[in-house]
């Protein structure tokens, strides 16, 4: 059978192939998105800002927005640095580097709630860490790592857990990016007498920028939406926006305020994505060297 004749024109084919994905996006993404937006703005008397006002007046709102931002701001840069170091290490292609890549990617396969619970088992009052510290005689009685009186420490446990769990996705993106950089550039830099850090700063990082951009966008959005790890470790101590949205929907059964939280979260995510696209823009002439 002649495909081109069958489809009429060969320019139609790509669109036909895209159709299933588009249908999927429409049903599972765009429709719920539209619903959430309309739920957040429509009340019994039509258009209203009442649900957003309700959200702003929520006792948890201030804390949730503060925690969400601080968590994203502490987790993402830390992950980027760790992942960059690990990616460069793996990219030296030492013996067994593949094995390490898989090892580092392992936490990706674990659900976020399960990861939160694993770390809870470590940090809880009678958890692994306290047991080890006490067995070594370093402390006399357990340290309250998770405590409403020490929000900072609880916050740190969440950062650690999330760092362990989700750094691998950045690593995978950066390794792929590094492998696309042609050795020619590095060799040229060496011939011109570039030192190690100069190669990193003037050759690798600029060429890695598109990968960094994707990694940053993905990770920042996921960090803003982070929920299960914060709930498992922080409970009511460290409320986050996604969690409040969930509780307004499931526990307090107010889909309007739940949607207001979700729409706010979406606006923040869009804003952050715009910032990355704007400030990490790669000029075509740089990449097409």
């Amino acid at each position: 059978m002649n495909w081109r004749r069958f489809l009429g024109t060969d320019t139609l084919l790509p669109y036909l192939l895209l159709l299933p994905t588009l249908a999927y996006l429409l049903v599972f993404f765009l429709v719920p998105l539209g619903n959430a937006i309309s739920l957040s703005f429509w009340g019994e008397e039509g258009f209203t800002a009442q649900h957003f006002l309700g959200m702003f007046q929520d006792v948890k709102f201030g804390e949730a927005i503060k925690n969400t931002f601080f968590l994203a701001l502490s987790i993402v840069p830390l992950q980027l640095i760790t992942a960059l170091l690990l990616a460069m290490l793996v990219n030296t292609r030492f013996r067994g580097s593949k094995f390490f890549l898989y090892l580092y990617a392992l936490p990706l396969g674990i659900s976020d709630l399960a990861a939160g619970l694993v770390w809870l088992a470590i940090f809880t009052q009678h958890g692994y860490l306290n047991s080890i510290l006490m067995a070594l005689g370093l402390i006399e009685r357990p340290i309250y790592f998770i405590s409403y009186q020490n929000v900072g420490l609880t916050f740190l446990t969440i950062v650690l857990a999330e760092h362990w769990r989700a750094t691998a996705i950045v690593l995978v993106i950066l390794v792929a990016g590094l492998q696309m950089i042609s050795r020619d550039y590095l060799e040229a830099a060496e011939v011109l007498g570039a030192k190690r850090w100069q190669k990193l700063w003037y050759v690798i990082l600029p060429l890695l920028k598109p990968s960094l951009q994707s990694a940053l966008i993905i990770r920042t959005i996921f960090a803003l939406q982070m929920f299960a790890v914060a709930i498992a470790l922080g409970g009511e101590i460290v409320p986050v926006l996604a969690g409040e949205s969930y509780y307004w929907y499931s526990s307090y059964r107010n889909p309007h305020i739940a949607s207001a939280y979700a729409v706010l979260l979406m606006a923040i995510s869009l804003g952050m994505t715009w910032v990355y696209l704007r400030f990490l823009r790669t000029r075509p002439e740089v990449t097409r060297l």
């Binding site: 929520d58 006792v59 948890k60 809870l120 809880t124 009052q125 009678h126 009685r141 309250y144 998770i146 405590s147 409403y148 009186q149 020490n150 709930i231 470790l233 922080g234 409970g235 009511e236 101590i237 969690g243 509780y247 526990s251 307090y252 059964r253 107010n254």
Partner: protein, 412 residues
Amino acid sequence: MRSVKLILAAVLAVGLLAAGQEITWMSTQFVPIEEAEWVRNTLLPPFTQQTGIEVNFLGSEYAAFVDRLMAEHEAGQGTIDVICGLHGDFSSVLPTLADVSHLLPTIPGTLPPAMVELAQMGGIQAYIPLMQATYLMVINKAALDYLPEGVDIWALTYDDLLAWARNIYEATGEKKLGIPAGPGSLLHRFIHGYLYPSFTGYQVLAFDSGAAVRMWEFMQELWGYVNEAAPTWDAMDTPLLTGEVLIAWDHTARLKGAIVERPDDFIAIPSPAGPMGRGFITVLAGLGIPKTSPNPEAAAELIRYLTSPEAQVAILEGVGFFPVVEEAAGAVPPGALQILAAGVSAQAGSPDAIVSFIPGGISDEYKKIYRDTFTKFVIRGEPVDTEFLRQQATRLRELYLEAGAPYPAPDG
């Protein structure tokens, strides 16, 4: 050879009978997966054996439960034969319910008249009481070493509790009192059903009273002896078992795990009393039949089975809900459940009891009002602000007004 044929024929007949008699039981109770499995694999098989009626058990969240019953009612045609829910669940679906008063004389046990009366709503017997639950305290026997002199654990007051927890802290340097305050906890029940009635006599009407201010100030002091991880705990059984707490308050079902594991270490005791009395919640669940039930006779058969003393004790053993049928109370075997049952009956029978009900028919936002107030004054330790209390009280009354729902006991 003939006997084999006969047996085969009998098996086939029973099979056909059972296939013809299948009923659907929708329930807002026994929803957690392990409880639903227990209902299907342990509670129901003897019933199917006795009667040949197959039961399709359907655990449902409250919202889906209401939506489905209302939809079937409006369609005038149903698939649900029998329902199980809390008292408040029944009041939300009242128009869909058939009167079940004709079943009362056929129940194979004695139901307390007060409970039967409570289940009468809108001029009909809306449901048959099935089981009850409550929230109380469980203590590790090790805590008795620190019990202040002259304090009777069976008639504990909130002041006694404070002195007790302080004694433990001063002796061990650890905060051993446990109140579940995690996101999935039942903290709101503690506030509206225990603290408020005990300190102010009401759960809604005195929300912003002077007595309430004194109550919140008391809680700020008591919180100083509550384990610092409390805001992450949804249930107290694990912290009791690990020894993170020695004294804990929670729902019986969320305490049961600890006593089952180590029955010799724990005692269940009544919740404390405040200046107004001993406020506590009685949760009552029951069984009803929708008007659109395709098979009300088989549904009635199931209700009779579930209210038999044997099934009542089985429910207590399986999921920790306590019997309502009087004959069942004496049939609880020794062990963990007897320990819990002793606490439950001591609490129910206390002379200074103030019984509270769980609000029904109003937006669940009321939970947030109690919990947010707790978060602000107790967890964050902000000074008790009467203006904030007044705002929350106004919002709380609005919720009842919007829904046209009555204030629950002890207010109503």
